[in-house]
Amino acid sequence: MSEKNIEELMQLALKGDKTAYSRLLQETARILRPYLAKRINFAHDVEDVLQEILISIHKAKHTYDGLRPYKPWVFAIANFRLKDYLRSHYGDNLRNYSDLSEAENISDENVTKSELSYESIKEEIDKLPSKQAQILELIHNEGYTSKEVAVKMSMTESAVKVAAHRAYKVLREKINAD
């Protein structure tokens, strides 16, 4: 759909045309989805941020006069909400990072080594969340170090160690229970 058509849709929408508005929002979502996917790592977050942006467009529709190009207006709102998301996402990560460091410090076991063999508890490992299972597989089955796993999975080394630590904890509880 051309830029001119989108603007026409928006002009109709501002006059109260529900169908035009629905088409406009669908087209906007179609434009924004790949833009967000490039900038956000987690697929479910892409959809959440997209919805936030669509709500913001809905709230700010009175600021569009139909005379200036539509896309710069939409992308201004999209960037604004994307920055909000990234700020809160990385803010949370930073807050958790101190927790992770603490967890790393108090963890006395060597998370890259385990007395249990990988094969013997493979079934239990497969029941873990996929990320934890993948980390254990890479470390114990394929022989990667936690640093290499971190690079491979685009995580920090601390996060890998803590994920592994959590996985061990769950496995230990399960094995002890058995």
Partner: protein, 210 residues
């Protein structure tokens, strides 16, 4: 909730949308309101007795014009900054910087011309309190109108709004207070105006969220 469902819900909600006024119309209205406010306040505060004589002095007149330029440029910038896409006129949002630099230049020239420093007035902080008091209404008016739009640059918008409002207060006081001491003006009129302008960033973050 699925995006498709959300789109359907929002589409059902839409009616005829009342568009925001253009930032130029909005800022024009605000500037007219500020002029009326200044004209109402001047008789109350009594214009300085030597005002007509001082207005003939190039430096004093330049200072007043520069202050007025700050009011106008900051007000227009605030209105532009209230729009998510800055009304696609980004450069206008930065004109208060030019206005402020011109103002600083005028003050510098006044400072250099002040070879026999004028006596310092006895009051000091009273001027600052007065400017704050005079600026409350313009600030409220600006923020009230900006909140009705959809700002995406909270800090910048808050800063320009506060600068504009406090320049109104500073202008009223400059036209009524019979002091010629440039150091007093810098210390108790214009420096606080700049600091409050910067504090406006925080106000923007607090009051312009949507």
């Amino acid at each position: 909730m699925q995006t498709e469902l959300l789109i359907k819900q929002m589409s059902n909600e839409i009616g005829v949308v009342k568009k925001s006024p253009s930032p130029f119309i909005l800022s024009g209205k605000l500037i007219v309101a500020f002029v009326v406010y200044i004209l109402l306040l001047l008789p109350i505060f009594h214009p300085r007795s030597d005002l007509s004589e001082k207005l003939l002095s190039p430096l004093f007149a330049s200072e007043i014009i520069a202050l007025a330029f700050i009011i106008v440029s900051s007000c227009v910038a605030s209105a532009i900054l209230s729009f998510p896409d800055l009304y696609q006129k980004k450069t206008i949002a930065f004109t208060p910087i030019i206005a402020f630099l011109l103002f600083v230049l005028v003050l510098l020239l006044e400072w250099l011309a002040d070879k026999q420093p004028a006596p310092l007035p006895e009051h000091e902080v009273k001027c600052f309190v007065c400017i704050v008091g005079l600026s409350v209404i313009p600030a409220l008016l600006l923020f009230y109108n900006m909140r009705k739009i959809a700002c995406t640059h909270y800090a910048h918008a808050g800063c320009t709004a506060m600068l504009s409002a406090f320049a109104v207060g500073a202008l009223v006081l400059r036209l009524s207070e019979p002091t010629n001491s440039i150091s007093h003006l810098l210390q108790w009129h214009y420096l606080p105006m700049l600091i409050i302008g910067l504090l406006g960033m925080l106000c923007g973050k607090l009051f312009l969220r949507w």
